[in-house]
Symmetry: C2
Subunit: 186 residues, 2 copies
């Protein structure tokens, strides 16, 4: 992979892989399907990737990173900003969102590597949300703080899940509703 052609082919393959996982899930993501969509022959695929797994993991890493953008802003973001960032991810990077959800469910069952990667990511994410809560509501004690963060992150994933199933689902409004605690009047 030292020539321009190789890099372009690699991009096409990753593109195809990303879209396929989002559309058809891991089950439908076969070498043949990837190659057909990327307009590449299996030989070329294996010239650039060691295995199907490698291409998938590359795309999964992309997705996981896209969930938590702007890492240098870490430690400064507000809860609202974190939720808005997730909304952008869900709605404007829907392929990656599809990958994210597909992996959360199918990928982590048989692949301990992916599973650990995902759980670590989830933990970081909860920590980031908890830190935002702390900044805005220092009166809440640490335990309750991280519990609330975890509830919120999981609930947001539920929103993302449903948005993947039904593109008409208004993920933005539902995410903001969650944030505002406006679910049920107290």
């Amino acid at each position: 992979m030292r020539y321009k052609a190789g890099l372009e082919t690699r991009d096409r393959i990753l593109d195809a892989t990303r879209r396929l996982i989002a559309e058809a899930g891991l089950e439908g993501t076969t070498i043949k399907a990837i190659c057909d969509r990327a307009e590449v022959l299996p030989g070329s695929f294996y010239n650039l990737f060691d295995s199907k797994e490698q291409a998938i993991v590359t795309v999964v890493r992309e997705a996981i990173e896209a969930v938590d953008p702007d890492p240098e802003h870490l430690g400064k973001d507000t809860l609202a900003a974190l939720v808005e960032a997730y909304i952008v991810f869900i709605t404007e990077q829907s392929d990656l969102a599809g990958v994210y959800i597909a992996i959360a469910v199918s990928g982590t069952r048989n692949n301990p590597d992916l599973r650990e990667r995902f759980l670590r990511h989830h933990e970081r994410r909860v920590t980031r949300f908890a830190a935002a809560i702390e900044r805005e509501h220092p009166e809440i004690e640490a335990g309750a703080r991280s519990r609330r963060a975890e509830t919120l992150v999981s609930a947001l994933n539920g929103i993302a899940l449903h948005r993947v199933l039904d593109p008409r689902f208004d993920a933005a409004a539902h995410s903001r509703a969650l944030l505002n605690g406006a679910l049920i009047p107290l």
Copy 2:
């Protein structure tokens, strides 16, 4: 399937299928895996089921029905009761919960039949939640009511999703937190 032996074999196959989907997802649910676990040979499987699909759909139907138990109670349940019922489903029927989540994500992508079935189920579920909200908070207008119901149902699915990934996740506490709107102080 008229003799006792046939019915028992059928049960063993459905049992194996249910546990396999929960553990390994749709991807890992092969005829061989089902037959090994059920201690049955392929010939017996195909004597009782027309296809692998049929066994899977049977189990999926079970899962979808288990999410909304006690249908005759419909129109009388409280929001809290609905949430508690889902908690029971997630924690005490974790195999079916695993099937439910696996299908929500992977199953609906390539199988329009499953997809439609799932979306119809989701709609019924949202309606049931919205009716409970109406009973307890008649002051909320219809639109807001069903929007809130939809937020809650999706968020609960997020809780279920995470519980499937991590059995230590305290799904009950997080579900109740959602219900109480105690996510973030207003």
